[in-house]
Subunit: 199 residues, 2 copies
């Protein structure tokens, strides 16, 4: 599917065919695409949980104010981040020339070390970017998606056994739409959102 078509036709869909299953190959195609999303200093600070276990999904739905898409979609993804990913800079630059590695690895560490605020900002930026890769990729594969923050983050952290120094960024459901999304709610005018040079 053409990129701009995917951008236009991606909508947040809440009604899915509960009988439809994505194949392992489809899930892998989608997540391999997500792994090509850019991250600051290539630190790949995201971690993607693919939840298919029915009991776990029922628990996630209960923690999401009973939103049906959490169990009815084919998969529920939890997008998490490793907050201390910057500490392992060597791993993200093994293919770079030595001189480049010696420059970039200390820069990465220096930028984020001891800065919980920047680590969190970067987690959300990385997750945001990757989430759109997933949503557009899903659309191009004939699926629909729903990005979600409407859940109890602490409860979900318990369910997925979130380790210390990790955080949850968002949830995305992916599956076969049973019903299209409603028309867009109300778009702000282009001129209000896109500005020239300065505010």
């Amino acid at each position: 599917m053409d990129t701009f078509t995917a951008i236009r036709e991606r909508r947040s869909v809440k009604h899915y065919d509960p009988e439809h299953k994505m194949t392992d190959a489809e899930i892998r195609q989608l997540l391999e695409a997500a792994l090509l999303s850019p991250t600051s200093f290539n630190m790949q600070n995201w971690r993607f949980l693919v939840v298919t276990d029915p009991e776990e999904r029922a628990a996630l739905r209960a923690a999401s104010w009973d939103q049906a898409q959490v169990t009815d979609a084919s998969i529920t993804l939890i997008l998490c981040a490793k907050l201390k990913a910057h500490e392992e800079g060597e791993r993200y630059w093994t293919n770079a020339p030595q001189a480049a590695q010696q420059m970039v690895v200390p820069m990465l560490k220096g930028y984020y070390d001891g800065r919980a605020d920047l680590q969190r900002d970067e987690a959300l930026r990385s997750i945001g970017i990757a989430s759109q890769t997933i949503m557009l990729g899903a659309k191009a594969m004939g699926y629909d998606s729903c990005p979600m923050v409407g859940f109890d983050f602490n409860k979900v952290a318990e369910i997925i056994k979130l380790p210390e120094d990790y955080m949850i960024g968002m949830m995305i459901t992916v599956g076969k739409a049973l019903k299209p999304a409603n028309p867009r709610g109300g778009q702000l005018p282009y001129e209000e959102v896109v500005l020239k040079d300065t505010f």
Copy 2:
């Protein structure tokens, strides 16, 4: 361009043809696509500054540790967010039925009001999502891009006259590549990044 091709071929490019100009129609096509990116409660909390003014771009480059792409790319985008966007919920749901509006508008306000932390999280999530729309859209149009956080946020805020209660999320340069990106630095194994059900 096929969506998965755009995902695969999008790389962070730093060397641009400084003579190339994007047309106004191309810039508008790209930013109109960005405006179709999803946001929590449809609150469209992003604002996109398209910087083409040469003097301003020189100042931005100085505030970005002299990174050449800031002036050499065809445009420099500053992705900002309006932190209090949740206060204007009515505007984002004008096309929805009255009953839906009466439910969602107070929910939006209730979720973010007085919560500077959630407002900031949502700003970065929204900006991350839209940034990937822009980077993939640019690729599909035959352009390349470079997402950036390596700049002095306070200095850039001054240059762009950032109002109170707004924040800067990132910068993206878009233009005609002169030189392809280096090979990917070192990808983490799929099995480390994609997990099944729980950590």
